[in-house]
Structure formats: C-alpha cells, structure tokens
C-alpha cells in the first residue's frame, strides 16, 4: 500500500515516577487504516493513546503527524514543538473517551458545534448544518436539543463521536469506547465505528471487543507490559503461536 503515513511513533517511552509504563513503542499508521490495540488492563494502552494525543508528555521518542514533528529526541531528551505548531498538529486527530466526557451544560447541538466555532472559526450556520448531517448519520437526528444527562450511555458516546468528527480530524483515536456501556448498548456504538471504517476513516481503537476488532481491523496490536508483543492482520493474531496472545484472546471468546 502506498498510502500516506498519517501517524508515526518512534521509540516512545513514558513512565510515572518509578513505573515504566511505555517502554519502547514504534508504530506507523497509514491513511484509511483501522488499527486495534488489545491487551490486558494496565499494559499501557491508555497511556499510549494519551501520549499520542498529547494529553501526556512522552519521556522519549518521537511523534509525527503527516510528516509534521510534534515531538522528537534531542540529546537524549524528548522535546516538543512550539505551542503554535502543536495547535496546528492537534487538528489532525480526535479522541473518543471511555466515559464520553461530554459537556453537561451544553445541549447535544452545542456540544458538537462549539469547538468548530470557537476553535476553527467556522460560522454558526456551517457548524449547525454539518452537525445536523452528523447527527443524522449517527442516528441522533431527534436529539439535537437534548442535554447529555437525558441520553443513554450509547447515545452519549455517539454524540461524543459526532463532536470529534465535527472537527474533521484525519485520524480518530478511541479508548475503550464501549467499556462504560451496558452490554445491550455497545452494539449501537460499534455500528457507528463500523460505518466510519466503511468510509475509510483512519482509526486507532483500544478495545476488549475481540470479535469486533477481528472483523474490522486491518491490523491488530497486542500490547503487554508497555511493549508491542505481537502485531499483524486479524488472521495472524487470532492464529498466533504466541502463548500469551492466545491465552489473552481465549479469555474473551467464551
């Protein structure tokens, strides 16, 4: 595949105090790719996503979006680009949180249009019209005026996906998007992500939904103890001869 590389992570490391959480992770994601990250809890999946989305500063390594360097190593230390530069780079990606983090005091519509208007200077008319399209697409057309507290978890998560999409990111991260949902509500969120995959949205998804990862991903990464223990196509991972990978996947297939 000769597609453009959207994200490149080289030798990322990150620790908290004495604890090395991300040890040495390199990863590159091309346009249109869907990459799932699986692994036991505590293995550093969230930390990886938080470093990639600059919510957390890495200790070492480099982070590059569309060829633009956000962070790199200099004399053995990790340095970040200037604020102005980072603001620009930040527009390339979006992040969907496990617990949505919608703004409770804003209506669904306001949640979706506020950032495009305040951050990107989009006109209200344009922001609203785009938000309506998104709500339609995500099956929430009748919820524009509702407040987050009036919605089910599944609906809230779909709104938070719409909120991220409204900024038209090139790459979208998901950190366990269905883990906070009742089992009967995960389906509606997974359906939306499937639909995005069909539209060739580039996505990096941390998930425990093995079947979902298997059918959707171009690549699956198995993480454990801060490193990538295995990666490959779903077929390769699900037929892995690595004991740890098989054991982990096995646990979720009952």
């Amino acid at each position: 595949m000769g597609a453009e590389v959207l994200l490149e992570i080289n030798h990322m490391s990150k620790g908290f105090d004495e604890l090395d959480v991300i040890k040495d992770i390199s990863l590159s994601v091309k346009k249109g790719e869907v990459v799932s990250i699986i692994g036991p809890s505590g293995s550093g999946k969230s930390t990886l996503l938080r470093c990639a989305t600059m919510l957390e500063k890495m200790d070492g390594g480099s982070l590059i979006y569309l060829g633009e360097k956000a962070a790199w190593e200099e004399k053995g230390r990790c340095v970040y680009a200037k604020k102005q530069e980072l603001k620009k780079i930040q527009k390339h990606f979006g992040l969907v949180f496990q617990n949505f983090n919608l703004f409770p005091h804003y209506s669904v519509m306001r949640n979706i249009i506020d950032a495009p208007m305040r951050v990107n200077g989009v006109s209200k008319r344009e922001a609203v019209s785009r938000a309506k399209e998104l709500l339609e697409q995500l099956g929430l057309a009748d919820k524009a005026d509702a407040y987050p507290c009036q919605l089910s978890g599944g609906q809230q998560q779909r709104v938070s996906i719409a909120r991220a999409l409204a900024l038209q990111p090139k790459i979208l991260f998901f950190d366990e998007p269905t883990s906070a949902l009742d089992p009967e509500l995960t389906g509606e969120v997974l359906k939306v992500i499937r639909q995005l995959a069909k539209e060739h949205m580039t996505m990096i998804i941390v998930t425990h939904e093995m079947q979902f990862a298997r059918e959707l991903s171009d690549r699956i990464i198995f993480m454990e103890q801060g490193i990538i223990q295995a990666q490959g196509t779903p077929e390769e991972i699900f037929a892995s001869d690595k004991e740890r990978v098989r054991a982990f996947i096995g646990k979720f297939q009952s």
């Binding site: 603001k87 979006g94 983090n101 703004f103 950032a115 987050p148």
Partner: protein, 215 residues
C-alpha cells in the same frame, strides 16, 4: 418617636445595608475567584500567600478586620483620609468575603472531573476558553447552594458596620432603641433583615432553578 418616623429612618438604614450588601458581592465574588486561583497556583509562593490570606480572613473576627482596615492608614502612615469610612467598610467586607468565596470556588473547581479539561484540550480549546466556557459554568451550578449560604450570612453581617458608626439599619435601630428606651426599633430592624434575606433566598433559588436544566 412616632412609628412612621421610625420606619422612615430604618428604611433609610435598610438602603445603606443593601448598599453594603451589593457592593460587597460585586467586589468579593470576582476577587474570591482570583484568590482561589492563587490558592491552586503551581507556584508555591503564590499558593502560600493565598493560603495565609484565607486563614487570616477566616480566622479573625470580621469586626476586628473592619477596625483594622479603617484605622490602619492613620496608625501606619499618619494619613487622615476624609470620607474613608464607607470605602473602608466595603473594602473590609470584600476582602473578608473573598476569602470565603475563594474556598467555595476551589471546592467547586476541584470537583470538576479532569476528563472535562482533557476533552476540551483535545478539541483545541485554549486555557481561557476551557475555564470560562466549560469549567466555570459547571462550577457555578455546583457551588450555588454554598454561595446562597454566604450571601444570607452577609445580609446579617452588614450590621457589623455599626463598629465604624456607619448609619446602616442596625446602627440606626440601636440609636432609636436607646433614645426611646424601646425594643420596638430592634424588632422592626429584625423584621427588615428577615424580609431582605427572604428576598435574597428567593432570588438565589431562582438562579439555582435556572441552572437546573442539566445535571
């Protein structure tokens, strides 16, 4: 003194009381927010100073603070300021209430989940937008009951201005009571305070209701 005159005079005092009340809120609410920023500052010195300020303001009597603020310019600098009485009252009340409000703001700000900041950051909001558009509205909703409490206390605390012989309602009631050797003016003043607070509580309840559209 006739009942009519008494009501007239107490009414004037009530106006003065309301003046102290509103001006104190006007200054102490923003000042309190500023102090709460200091209290949560990353810089240890700023944090220490703010903490000390709050502890002094909350740890000493407001009546004493009124006297200190009023007499300090004279005793420290020998300055004899004309017309300083009323500004001194407003200043003392404002810096005192700012300390209480600061702690209320801090509690409110710290109760907002870090996820709200993170969502705002990833969406590209800058620090000012994040605070004023995302965090502060939620903080105000949460702290409104505590603000109501302080506000009601403030209505009653305005009577402390009597130590500087300012002609607010309590001072006047005391004077009339002494002159007429009657407890009636004090009873009427009490009634006025009660009515004032009733109105304040009503207004605050309306504000709380207006923010009830979300959880």
């Amino acid at each position: 003194m006739s009942t009519g005159t008494m009501f007239m005079q107490l009414g004037k005092g009530m106006f003065s009381t309301a003046e102290i009340f509103f001006l104190t809120l006007l200054f102490s609410l923003p000042l309190g927010l500023l102090v709460s920023f200091g209290r949560m500052a990353r810089n240890g010195i700023i944090r220490g100073i703010s903490k000390f300020y709050i502890s002094i303001m909350r740890g000493t009597p407001l009546m004493l603070q009124l006297l200190v603020v009023y007499f300090a310019p004279y005793y420290l600098f020998g300055a004899n300021l004309r017309g300083y009485r009323f500004p001194a009252i407003i200043l003392a009340f404002s810096i005192n209430y700012a300390a209480y409000f600061a702690e209320i703001y801090r509690g409110g700000i710290e109760s907002i989940s870090v996820g709200q900041y993170e969502a705002a950051k990833v969406l590209g909001y800058n620090k000012g937008q994040t605070f004023f558009r995302i965090i502060l509205p939620q903080v105000l909703k949460r702290i409104m009951p505590s603000i109501t409490n302080e506000t009601i206390t403030l209505v009653k605390d305005t009577s402390l201005a009597f130590v500087l012989a300012h002609a607010e309602m309590f001072t006047i009631a005391k004077q009339i009571a002494a002159k007429d050797t009657s407890v009636m003016p004090l009873m009427v003043a009490g009634l006025f305070y009660y009515i004032f607070n009733f109105a304040v509580a009503f207004a605050m309840e309306r504000i709380e209701k207006a923010m009830d559209y979300y959880r």
